[in-house]
Symmetry: C2
Amino acid sequence: MSNEKIPYKIYLEESEMPKQWYNVRADMEKKPAPLLNPATGKPMTAEELGHVFCDELVKQELDDTSRYIDIPEEIQDFYKMYRPSPLVRAYCLEKALGTPAKIYYKFEGNNTSGSHKLNSAIAQAYYAKKQGLKGVTTETGAGQWGTALSMACSYFDLDCQVYMVKVSYEQKPFRREVMRTYGANVTPSPSMNTEVGRQINAEFPGTNGSLGCAISEAVEAASAQEGYRYVLGSVLSQVLLHQTVIGLETKTAMDKYGIKPDLIIGCAGGGSNLGGLISPFMGEKLRGEADYKFIAVEPASCPSLTRGVYAYDYCDTGKVCPLQKMYTLGSGFMPSSSHAGGLRYHGMSATLSELYDQGLMEAVSVEQTSVFDAAVKFARVEGILPAPESSHAIKVAIDEALKCKETGEEKTILFGLTGTGYFDMFAYERFNNGEMSDYIPTDEEIAAAVAKLPKF
Amino acid sequence: MSNEKIPYKIYLEESEMPKQWYNVRADMEKKPAPLLNPATGKPMTAEELGHVFCDELVKQELDDTSRYIDIPEEIQDFYKMYRPSPLVRAYCLEKALGTPAKIYYKFEGNNTSGSHKLNSAIAQAYYAKKQGLKGVTTETGAGQWGTALSMACSYFDLDCQVYMVKVSYEQKPFRREVMRTYGANVTPSPSMNTEVGRQINAEFPGTNGSLGCAISEAVEAASAQEGYRYVLGSVLSQVLLHQTVIGLETKTAMDKYGIKPDLIIGCAGGGSNLGGLISPFMGEKLRGEADYKFIAVEPASCPSLTRGVYAYDYCDTGKVCPLQKMYTLGSGFMPSSSHAGGLRYHGMSATLSELYDQGLMEAVSVEQTSVFDAAVKFARVEGILPAPESSHAIKVAIDEALKCKETGEEKTILFGLTGTGYFDMFAYERFNNGEMSDYIPTDEEIAAAVAKLPKF
């Protein structure tokens, strides 16, 4: 089909929306390593995981053989309120770059959470409700996940307790207030509500908090309350599964117009959006049906895939979560405070880690000033003000499109635009004022953090 | 067509998008009164208006006979980046209310300006560029219009100078930073850049500024610079014209599914979104082809239609703009500082004023705590966090749906959801904390403001 026929935005009909999530692990010959119980060193059982997570989500977490998992109708109905998300042909960006490449992006920012996070939040809230729970606990850093979960819980009338990293709680009052508007109970972390919070407050008075610490508090709070479970917005296989709605919609939309991407690019923090976007394409690659090049983009200040090690590690600072085999910088690694936005997680999805280890996916790291430079360029021609996280993918998509300009190749580039930057204007302000700097951890810093990995 | 077949969201195909704006004045037997030159008391000529506005926009402003005006292709292309906007069936809200009414809303918030303002901003920037201008000046209060214009100017590489009401400049740093990200020059108003700004600063040291004052500064700045014109985001007939893209899309989408609204509701500040939404339906009513009930919703704290007078008045505090016949509270009227959000304009679109005066449209005013109450209710079931302005329409749509619940009528209600509330979280915070109050001006206050109207 000729380019002229491809609209600026491709929306699917409701009837074309996915009715099943796709579980890429089913098509992997070598599966991701199992979660381990740090006390025993043995794979976590469903029963052990059931103390922390909802039963149905535990089932999804452990299921690496079912290729498709039905999306319950209630979740499909919620998806219909803000999905399908548009697959956008970046005509204006292509023109501005003067590239022969064809650039597409799947835009997940058109919902109040401002990101793709809602795709998994609604699923997790649904299963919690179905299990008859009273509520869920979680952590949030930048706030997208907390917002998404608040929206989902409000929809299913579940109590929602969010531990928000203290520095974000104070610097992002708007995010906090959006969550409160959806009825969530938002607590700055470390708090005095939990044992681990009290310990950290005693040890580091006046600390700004960290995501790892907020996870530990949320897990403890879930265990301490009858009828509560903990939910997590990234990293886990269940989250990747829910996020495949992104890739499935994208694939259907592209197939409809006969478009085949050569290159699929996504930013990678915990890996959920990237995993969700690439899964159906990766499935084809794993089954030998098609070939694609995948690029994970991470910040140079927190380069898990490109500079970490592939090993078992804790998912949280408090070491209360199961151990996961993944590319990691060590659970004690903290990106420089000059780092803006998300993608500051020390580890990576086990599935993506395994795919990367098998050479099925590539990874690059980029510095944040170049990311904001790409973000502003993109915003000015495509209209959308992107989240700093998403802008990592934009940066590499632009780089690749400029390579095509040099070589004359008419590659088709697809990237995930995971969210909007409305709540990141402090970071944009620093960039606009020329006050933003780059930071790349030294080999010594990384070696020191990695040296503290648990031995399993 | 049965309800079961109507999707949650109706998107038009690109080919179904409007190629012409609809000029409702063409179908009005009694036209809106002409703009007057305050110095002569005579209708403004195209030449006089051309000192302030772009030539093509002056033409549109004065044209009350052409029923359709072509949308230039460049503007159609830009529209394709963020339009068509979805027409949403509020299934979840209906269910939550237990109403037999069918509720639809046209959602204009899915673009970075967060509102419908972009529809006119891109048109005005286009005509400025086409005329070979260097740039444009404008004012902004809450910031939606300034953001929209910044985006539009960045797209056409025009200089954009925004005078932002000082209190908003200080309290909405994020809005300011979004505009700067799009390359705009944002100045807190009153400034020392203009004669009128210096005067106001001298007379009221430390003043917070006002929209009327910012308008005066922007107009003066445009006149003082070679190659600059002033642009305005509401009130004017040209703006209403551009905003008819909202109503035209809505009508096409509804016609496609055989839906006929009984009731069309929109919030009204200067009137541009309401006018844009209702125009094609009003056209049918004016031509005797169909009947609809239209309701303009305004804040009780700034009730131009419901408590103002229909008379010639100044559009700005500085009295540098032409006189317009409209429903007005007097250009000196200032809504209470307890009033949150926009819709604080003292006057109203001349077209809507005339339609209202002819009894073709109704108006109601609502108090802000009830508006925020409706906003939160809506957000929790429909997902979208609405702008306070848009929530005025939500409030009345809910009221009408509840009336249907009482009477058992299965009315079809359509309302305009003009934007999102991401940048209004201070107001939500006040509401969430129970700190928001209502204010209704006394008859004496209104009489005093109205007494100062110019005599024409």
